[in-house]
């Protein structure tokens, strides 16, 4: 029979509700009730023709010898899932200073205002700006982090002006982002940022009490001053000139609704329910700040439901972590989230130029250096990009994040959407080469993919519309 169905290569997993999720080589998925799954594997020809057609359309069923059209289609689907790393480093993070007025308990890096030693030298700033242009990428994002970089606005200004001047001849599309508490933001800074199309990214951990508890400063008014900074930025630079990130601490876990509501109240279009790794801060604070993956799931699910609640009311807001995962699950256009790329984007699409004069593969990697582990240094600032990319650190990271080389990933239905995170592994175990399923990175993402696939399976048409909308990559100017 010409159209006899043959089961094609697939990976599957039983979800909590008993349904089986299967994904095919193309990244398409289907759900099976348990009995149907056995029939699919053993005698797919007994499935209804309608069901056979659905499974063929997802490349879970096919012919014994798939012909050229289907083969080409699947190859292009796989390539589209993995092509975001190849264009050369596009995200360049500069750490002008570690100085910060805050003394957040979960922060590993920041130093007090009186500390003069943790600041990037002028020569290193200039060299970093020049290295950025060695990347062939036509679009570049230059992000300033800290510490609080606005404490050294002079260094930001120097870097942006140098890059702008160079770009007259280079004509790259460059986006600037400054991550800051905004406490030091003033009108002249806004004018400069507006003139140069700079976006601001700040931190709001939730309502006043929670935020001020997470982010202590001598005046105990971190929240008030950040909100004032947001208002000033919006007034001078436009509503969408500033975005916010939150960090989930142990104190956040019981307040998912209030945190989401705070973002809605402040008029943000995005909220990122960002977990803190259990090893992501000084060991002495583990008991005080740490929480389990399960505790984070409960918080995340609650927060996500709250965001969906507001979306259904017509509020324009999305949860970024969910968007990133839905993009992997549903969209053919990959948004290129660094931590889930295979090979990893760390050190390939991202480079961090640290105040200490060294280049690191990611923000987490330079934080690791503050705890004494400098093994992920790629080279000194000023080293030609080619040499940085040829560094042993990078090849270790690429190797350790290749899903093809990781047996556990090979069997995982999420392997086209996800990848090991070797920088995380280094932080958790002191080596990038570990069995993926032992890492918190894997446990967290398995759980989140499970939850989102279940959400997708049970979604009505309006919810499907919303989840697909979130799956579309956000235009660069909004992120």
């Amino acid at each position: 029979m010409a159209y006899a169905p043959k089961v094609q290569p697939f990976r599957s997993r039983v979800l909590a509700d008993g349904f089986v999720l299967a994904t095919s080589q193309s990244g398409d998925h289907a759900f099976f009730a348990p009995g149907e799954f056995d029939q699919f594997r053993q005698s797919p020809q007994l499935l209804s023709l309608r069901r056979q057609a659905e499974l063929r359309a997802r490349f879970l069923l096919g012919d014994s010898h798939p012909s050229i059209g289907v083969r080409r289609l699947i190859a292009s689907r796989i390539a589209a899932k993995r092509d975001t790393v190849s264009a050369g480093p596009s995200l360049h993070i500069l750490i002008p200073t570690l100085q910060c007025a805050h003394s957040c308990r979960y922060c590993q890096v920041s130093r007090s205002l009186h500390d003069q030693g943790h600041t990037l030298s002028l020569a290193d700033i200039d060299a970093a700006c020049d290295t950025i242009f060695e990347s062939p990428s036509p679009t570049l994002t230059v992000e300033f982090q800290g510490g609080d970089p606005l404490l050294r606005f002079d260094l930001i200004e120097r870097a942006i002006l140098r890059i702008k001047a160079r770009n007259v001849a280079e004509s790259r599309r460059i986006r600037f982002v400054v991550a800051s508490t905004l406490h030091q933001l003033d009108a002249p800074m806004c004018a400069f940022f507006k003139a140069h199309g700079v976006h601001l990214s700040t931190s709001i951990d939730g309502p006043r009490e929670l935020h001020n508890r997470n982010r202590p400063i001598p005046g105990r008014d971190s929240y008030e001053r950040t909100v004032a900074g947001i208002a000033l930025a919006r007034e001078r630079m436009g509503h969408d000139s500033v975005a916010a990130l939150m960090t989930t601490t142990k104190a956040s876990l019981d307040h998912a609704d209030a945190i989401v509501d705070e973002y809605v109240r402040l008029g943000f279009r995005e909220i990122f329910l960002r977990p803190l790794s259990s090893y992501g801060f000084a060991k002495r604070n583990q008991a005080l700040l740490g929480y389990s993956v399960e505790e984070f799931f409960a918080f995340y699910r609650r927060g996500l439901e709250r965001v969906l609640h507001w979306s259904r009311q017509g509020v324009d807001i999305r949860e970024v972590y969910t968007s990133i995962l839905l993009n992997k699950m549903l969209s053919t256009f990959d948004a290129g989230y660094v931590d889930l790329q295979s090979p990893t984007g760390a050190g390939s699409s991202v480079l961090v130029y640290n105040y200490d004069g060294h280049v690191y593969p990611s923000d987490e990697a330079r934080m690791l250096a503050e705890t004494g582990d400098t093994s992920l240094r790629m080279g000194r600032i000023g080293t030609p990009l080619q040499s940085l990319l040829a560094s042993p650190v990078r090849s270790v990271l690429i190797d350790a994040s290749d899903v093809q080389k990781e047996p556990h990933c090979q069997a995982c239905p999420y392997s086209l959407f996800c990848a090991p995170n070797p920088v995380d592994a280094q932080a958790q175990f002191g080596t990038p080469c570990v069995a993926a399923h032992d890492t918190e990175h894997c446990q967290r993402h398995m759980g989140m993919f499970d939850a989102l696939f279940t959400k997708l399976r049970t979604a009505d048409d309006d919810m499907q519309d919303l989840l697909h909308k979130w799956a579309q990559p956000v235009a660069a100017e909004q992120t």
């Binding site: 159209y3 193309s26 359309a57 289907v70 080409r72």
Partner: protein, 362 residues
């Protein structure tokens, strides 16, 4: 092949490589053209006609004292018929194929293109299956590029032969003519599509053809004719397109033309679109989810749920477009596709209704 010209324009439009058919209105004008012929201009003839128009491209039939008008400047839809041969036998084909060798049509098309006085905005190439012409199709496209700069070409093709890289290279490599390829897709799985086009293996070849077109960054419009076996799977098909063919420019959902094979396969092709509103809305929703632009063609507004009116086009070529008695008092007639002229002998896409102004505004 001749270009019809008014007497006054003969001098301005004469070129040695063109043939002109001059609209002569008087004995003097006829005599003047005959003088030109005897003076050694073989490519000028006169004609007396009240139906031919200045600028028409015509093929005179010498035996019958008549001429076939291939192209007319004042028409909004210009099309050249490329072949009546085809490698598919679609259930609802409006132009049933014949096997006879008609490769002379290529020369006729190139000749017609050469004789056009000014480039039309849009030129359709239809069949049959134009890819069967191979390099002949490329000759036609190169003629458009040479003689009709600025003209956008639309080619209706099943794309199957592009699965052969030789054909793809022959027709697409270095192609400078702007072409939009109109490619039908009738299923999300091989056995569904292959049944509709009555050709085993067609689904796979069309997919490969679409990939070949995409590799050359060609513009693609997918076409889906709304007959019963297709409506049965339409939302799934829309989702398949969103996941696998997101590079297409748009998807056209088209009412079936009640003519040709559609009449013979009436039990599969005659549908009451109004009964399929939910299916159409769900399919449109699937396409929206994947950001695929889409439109409805050949479907009168009264056959569609109101939510889909904004994407319904006035799509039926002027020469075969009619309206029914119900349409006369209808307040959305001006925005409506109307009907195919031959719906009387076939069927209507749905029971027609006169839309009152209250409904249109609501």
């Amino acid at each position: 092949m001749h270009r019809v010209v008014s007497y006054a324009n003969v001098a301005a439009e004469w070129f040695p490589e063109l043939r002109l058919l001059v609209l002569a209105r008087s004995a003097d004008e006829r005599a003047a053209i005959e003088d030109l012929q005897s003076a050694g201009l073989p490519n000028v003839r006169w004609v007396e006609s009240s139906v031919l128009q200045d600028g028409d491209i015509v093929v005179p039939r010498s035996v019958k004292d008549e001429a076939v008008v291939l192209l007319r400047e004042s028409d909004t839809h210009h099309a050249l018929f490329m072949t009546n041969r085809c490698n598919s036998y679609c259930l609802m084909c409006s132009q049933p194929p014949t096997p006879a060798d008609d490769s002379w049509l290529v020369d006729e098309a190139v000749d017609a293109i050469r004789h056009l006085r000014s480039p039309p905005l849009l030129l359709g190439l239809t069949g049959g299956e134009p890819l069967l012409l191979g390099v002949g199709l490329r000759r036609v496209l190169d003629a458009v590029s040479k003689y009709l700069p600025g003209t956008q070409v639309e080619i209706l093709t099943n794309g199957r032969l592009f699965s052969d890289w030789r054909v793809a290279a022959q027709i697409l490599t270095g192609l400078s003519t702007p072409v939009r390829w109109l490619v039908p897709l009738y299923g999300h799985a091989d056995f569904v599509h292959d049944f509709v086009v009555q050709a085993p293996g067609a689904f796979d070849e069309t997919l490969a053809g679409l990939m070949a077109l995409q590799a050359q960054r060609q513009q693609i419009q997918l076409r889906i004719v709304l007959i019963e076996p297709v409506l049965q799977v339409l939302p799934e098909l829309a989702s398949f397109i969103g996941r696998n063919l997101p590079f297409v420019r748009e998807v056209a959902l088209m009412g079936c033309e009640p003519i040709g094979f559609a009449l013979a396969n009436r039990e599969l092709c005659e549908v009451d679109l109004a009964q399929w509103s939910d299916t159409l809305e769900l399919a449109a929703r699937q396409l929206r989810r994947h950001d695929i632009p889409h439109l409805l063609m050949n479907a009168p507004l009264c056959s569609l749920p109101k939510a889909l009116w904004p994407i319904a086009q006035r799509s039926i070529s002027d020469w075969k477009n009619v309206y029914a008695a119900e349409c006369e008092a209808c307040c959305v007639k001006a925005d409506c596709s109307g009907l195919f002229a031959w719906h009387e002998r076939g069927w209507k896409p749905a029971p027609l209704r006169t839309i009152e102004s209250a409904e249109a505004i609501a």
